[in-house]
């Protein structure tokens, strides 16, 4: 495993940004690009897309499976360690043996990523917001936006609103209804619990809760049945990363529409397009990578199975990549 060293150096062209390294990877940013230097070469990613991807990777603790920043660079969660790669999941790079992979301690790499995000995010740019809602990240270093990048991931233990569980969102908590969901009813369910049953007789307005999310493409758990998690999220513009899950996940489109590009998880070859409208349900097989496009802000329920034994069982072929056969 490689060790992580954070070098406190400024990039050569004194734009004010720090340079970071992890193992044999070096990261620099300039006005428009993140530069990823690795033993095989240098790879560039537009800085807006890079920061948005980095934000998700950090916030989700490397998430389930693979987080592809683009067709070359990404991370694979090994739960405790994480593989960082260039070209590993790109057919051309891999077959020409031009790929590069290094394994890191997850906590150490996350620390470097977090510092990078902190240093490279300029004032006025929120990597979690839709492009129409925030400023631009370009140019030389200008201030910071610590508040935006330190949001906590919201995970309900049982269900939002139960005593001791995730609280509701409201104007009073500063969580206002998003500009694109002003027509989502904010009414409350009628709840009549007999004394002593307040922890059990429970309901809440989930759509209203989701309409008040100020982040995009950032699932938060609202209800659990053991390892079955409903992760609700508001989607607008493009999912910054292309997600290659290490297990089957499902989508339930709650409102509006998302168009998904589905590519093969290993090679990146296109496999399908999936158009989802309100009420549509679809599985994402365990061997694909997916990236969504949401023209209007929409609500999506990402349905995950949090069982920690799954990645191995899918990888070993014990489980088929498709959830249902008919």
């Amino acid at each position: 495993m490689s060790t992580v060293q954070t070098k406190i150096e400024t990039a050569s062209r004194s734009l004010g940004y720090r340079k970071f390294s992890a193992g044999q990877f070096t990261f620099e940013r300039d006005e428009y690009f993140a530069h990823i230097l690795y033993p095989g070469g240098r790879h560039l990613i537009p800085i807006d897309a890079y920061l948005r991807s980095l934000m998700r990777d950090v916030a989700w603790g490397f998430f389930y499976g693979t987080v592809n920043f683009d067709t070359l660079f990404g991370t694979i969660n090994r739960y405790g360690t994480v593989d960082m790669f260039v070209g590993l999941l790109n057919e051309a790079y891999y077959s020409a043996n031009r790929h590069y992979v290094e394994t890191f301690n997850s906590r150490q790499l996350r620390k470097v990523f977090m510092e990078m995000l902190e240093d490279w995010t300029n004032q006025g740019f929120d990597p979690f917001a839709a492009p129409d809602e925030t400023g631009v990240p370009f140019g030389p270093k200008q201030g910071s936006n610590s508040k935006a990048i330190h949001r906590e991931r919201m995970v309900a233990k049982r269900m939002v609103g139960l005593p001791g569980d995730l609280p509701y969102r409201s104007d009073a908590t500063g969580e206002t209804v998003n500009r694109q969901f002003t027509d989502v009813p904010q009414d409350k369910p009628e709840v009549y619990a007999e004394p002593g049953f307040e922890n059990e007789v429970h309901a809440f307005n989930m759509f209203a809760y989701v309409s008040r999310s100020d982040v995009t493409w950032n699932p938060s758990v609202v209800s659990c049945v053991r390892d079955s998690q409903f992760c609700c999220t508001t989607e607008e513009h493009i999912l910054p990363i292309t997600h290659g899950n290490d297990r089957v996940e499902w989508f339930i489109q709650a409102t509006d529409e998302i168009i998904w590009d589905i590519d093969d998880g290993k090679t990146g070859r296109p496999r399908a397009k999936v158009i989802m409208k309100a009420g549509d349900v679809a599985a994402m097989p365990a061997d694909v990578r997916h990236r969504g496009y949401s023209p209007k802000r929409s609500m999506l329920i990402v349905w995950e199975n949090n069982d920690g034994t799954l990645p191995q069982r899918y990888a070993a072929g014990e489980l088929k990549p498709y959830p249902v056969e008919f």
């Binding site: 694109q180 027509d183 009813p185 009549y192 307005n205 209800s223 499902w250 999936v274 549509d280």
Partner: protein, 163 residues
Amino acid sequence: MSTPTYFGSLNDFKKGGVTVINDDPKHYVFSNVFEVASKSKPYEKVAVGKNLNYVIEAVRAEGNSPWYACEHDEAALVMDGEVEVHYVKPDRPQTPAGKEGTVKLAGEPAGQKMGWVKVRRGHMALLPKGAAYQFRSAAPGVMLVQTILGDCTVEKWGEICQK
């Protein structure tokens, strides 16, 4: 004002779909909950999602449902209509220990009334473990139930999914 939010309903839904480039559409197990409920009998619990033993069922809410009980938590999300859920704490356990999924009861069990909720589109109700419950809906509605595969789960993927 931005584009209105589109919800879909039992009487008015649009459906997307899978366009394959090099794949089988069946791999995406694609269906629409409103379409499924439009063809279901009242309170038929039709699986529209399955992840090993976990399921999501599309349920047409219409009239009074049977009484149900469950060993573990479940959650019901209303996608269309207005539904009441009435809860009873049974005097005696209604389900065998370790039983997974929704269990249909013969009728309302003897026990203590716990209360009730009235939920509309977008509202989610907890169906707490160990409780018995009944749905009541004056007009046809649609719910999604997050639960575990059980005796009441209906699997008819070939009828509901894109092929």
